[in-house]
């Protein structure tokens, strides 16, 4: 049974279980469905169900997501998400790399929240090493994390509005997103997958002119977000497709493990930045936006409100940015500064050991959760005492949240399925890893 292979332990053929529902299998359940759902009332019941394949290559699925939908006319009766089309085995690759070389690959999981992936991983390894991160590095991390959160929400807003037919939003959001990428380029030389966070701190201090550029952005961004809200909130078509559509209550969301903006939209103010502050988040004043009923409109409002709060955090972090080292001075954990290599034999030895062998991390297992733009992003790292991690596992919020899609869309129209999928904000790189 455990030997592997295509045989499955339930003894039912794979295709049979992958196949969607039919009238004969759904039977009485469908009667209840018809009675309890709004969509399709007043229409005569269909005599057969249609199984429709959406994706994997479809612009509205935000990546290579395949949905097997069962439709009764226009009404969705069931969906099954099929994933794995961009599985690249990153977790296996990590086991073959020394600790600091894992960061570039792990950033490529959720490709819209690369700073968050690196942060969760670095936090886990720092916990294993019992290494303190300097205050300046913690603040610099917060600035980049929050910029990244705005960036991720802008991509979400642009592409979601595009799914609903509002093409101009896409251009506006990507205009602002580009300014964030310019800032990332300023600090690390890359626009995406920057490898800026290192174990014990950040790779380099910020250059001259960084604070001014970020401040100019954070002062302008709230005005821009106001403009986006004006464009969307007074659009009758947008409102009708959002309000009271695909509601899911808090209790069911918690049972399904959903976190992040989707949970907050249902009124639960769970945010790890407040609940268990990490990286100096307790130094800043900000609010947690929450929704009321948990429909698509709440999901949209919560994310939009988070953009304002992120701007506030960034400004406070810039104001209070402490002086000091940007990375730990423990030479067993971080590279020595370049100028020391020419004068110090010891620095040269540390550099050589670090680059050839890497860091040796004491044995142990830790789980480090942070609040990513999509929910709880947790990194589990197990060390066996060598210089390579024995297991790296990411608790990807997109992967977990995807399970809630079926509950949200059952009994609504197929057009609402597209809108809801957009509001879930799944990133397939994160789901498939």
């Amino acid at each position: 049974m455990s030997g592997g292979g295509p045989l499955d332990p339930l003894g039912v053929s794979y295709r049979e279980r992958e196949a969607s529902l039919t009238l004969s299998t759904i039977g009485e359940q469908l009667q209840d469905h018809r009675a309890t759902t709004q969509a399709g009332t007043g229409l005569a019941p269909e005599t057969e169900l249609l199984t429709l394949n959406i994706g994997p290559h479809h612009p509205a699925t935000h990546g290579v997501l395949r949905l097997l939908t069962t439709l009764e006319g226009e009404v969705v009766r069931d969906i099954k998400p099929l994933i794995g089309y961009v599985h690249t085995g990153i977790e296996k690759t990590c086991e073959d790399k020394s600790y600091w070389k894992v960061i570039p690959v792990i950033e490529r999981m959720d490709y819209l929240a690369y700073y968050f992936n690196a942060m969760a991983y670095c936090m886990a390894v720092e916990r294993l090493l019992d290494e303190e991160v300097p205050a300046r590095a913690q603040y610099l991390r917060v600035i980049h994390l929050e910029l990244n959160r705005i960036h991720s929400h802008l991509v979400w807003l642009g592409t979601s509005a595009l799914d609903l037919g509002a093409i101009s939003m896409f251009w506006y959001c990507f205009r602002e997103r580009d300014r964030i990428l310019d800032i990332f380029e300023m600090t690390s030389g890359q626009r995406m997958h920057t490898r800026y966070f290192q174990i014990g701190g950040v790779v380099e201090d910020v250059p001259v002119g960084f604070a001014e550029k970020v401040r100019a952005f954070t002062q302008e961004m709230p005005t821009r977000a106001d403009q986006y809200a004006d464009l969307l909130d007074r659009n009758e078509i947008f409102l009708q497709r959002m309000k009271n559509v695909c509601v899911l209550d808090e209790e069911r969301l918690l049972a399904l493990g959903v976190t992040g903006p989707l949970l907050r939209a249902a009124g639960n103010p769970w945010d790890l930045r407040k609940a268990t502050p990490y990286s100096s988040y307790d130094h800043f004043e900000f609010k947690i936006p929450v929704g009321t009923i948990g429909d698509n409109y709440d999901r949209y409002r919560v994310r939009l409100a988070e953009i304002y709060e992120s701007c506030k955090i960034i400004e406070q972090a810039l104001d209070g940015l402490p002086e000091g080292p940007h990375i730990t001075t423990n030479r067993k954990v971080a590279l020595p500064p370049r100028h020391e290599l020419a004068t110090s034999m010891e620095a040269l030895i540390h550099h050589f050991k670090f680059v050839t062998e890497g860091i040796r991390v004491p044995e142990g297992e830790v789980y480090a959760p942070i609040e990513s733009p999509r929910g709880e992003l947790g990194c589990f790292v197990r060390s066996d005492g060598s210089s390579k991690p024995a297991r790296v596992h990411m608790r990807e919020p997109s992967f977990i949240n995807l399970q809630a899609t079926a509950d949200m869309v059952k009994g609504s129209y197929i057009a609402d399925l597209i809108a809801t999928l957009a509001m879930m904000d799944p990133v397939l790189g994160g789901i498939d890893r």
Partner: protein
């Protein structure tokens, strides 16, 4: 997080309420509490921790599979439980040998475990009894082996192109 004495109290309460043999051991490392239980008592322990007054670890944050090669028992499954009110986390883990890697599914209690248990099955070959739809999730259905096991070598899998298709005829079957 429960502290080290708090973890011992939880372990003692589990021994009393679930079964005297349920707890294999406890560990408190880097401020993280971990309770190791036998696969036979896993589901009962998880249910007890969810409902027992004063504990109420009622949110399952994550499920990970781990391979402890060369240690025995080799395979492990971790359940990261969370109490949102107290913001406390508790890890429950089970260890199994490769020959008998079966454990009860927690999907009836936590629907969130559905995808995650499928992932552990996919990558480690751990069978979850009572899972409603246990099949591979990220790898293709006809994939052989469980690649996250530590003795699964990486590399060596041919990538099929038109030019090398004749070398592995019938790969699509």
């Amino acid at each position: 997080m429960p502290d080290a004495p708090g973890l011992e109290l939880i372990a003692e309460a589990v021994r009393e309420s679930v079964s005297a043999e349920a707890v294999v051991g406890t560990s408190f490392h880097r401020e993280q509490a971990c309770l190791e239980v036998t696969p036979r008592h896993l589901l009962a322990t998880i249910v007890w921790l969810k409902d027992a007054p004063g504990h109420e670890y009622n949110f399952l944050a994550s499920v990970h599979g781990v391979d402890y090669l060369p240690d025995e028992p080799r395979l492990g499954v971790h359940y990261e439980l969370l109490n949102m009110r107290r913001a406390e986390r508790l890890r429950v883990k089970v260890r199994m040998t490769v020959d008998s890697c079966e454990v009860d599914s927690v999907v009836p209690v936590y629907p969130t475990a559905d995808f995650q248990e499928r992932e552990v099955y996919d990558f480690f070959g751990v069978v979850f009894n009572g899972h409603p739809d246990l099949r591979r999730i990220l790898l293709p259905e006809d994939y052989e082996g469980h690649p996250q096991r530590r003795d699964f070598a990486i590399g060596g899998e041919p990538v099929i192109f038109t030019h090398n298709e004749p070398e592995s005829p019938g790969w699509y079957k």
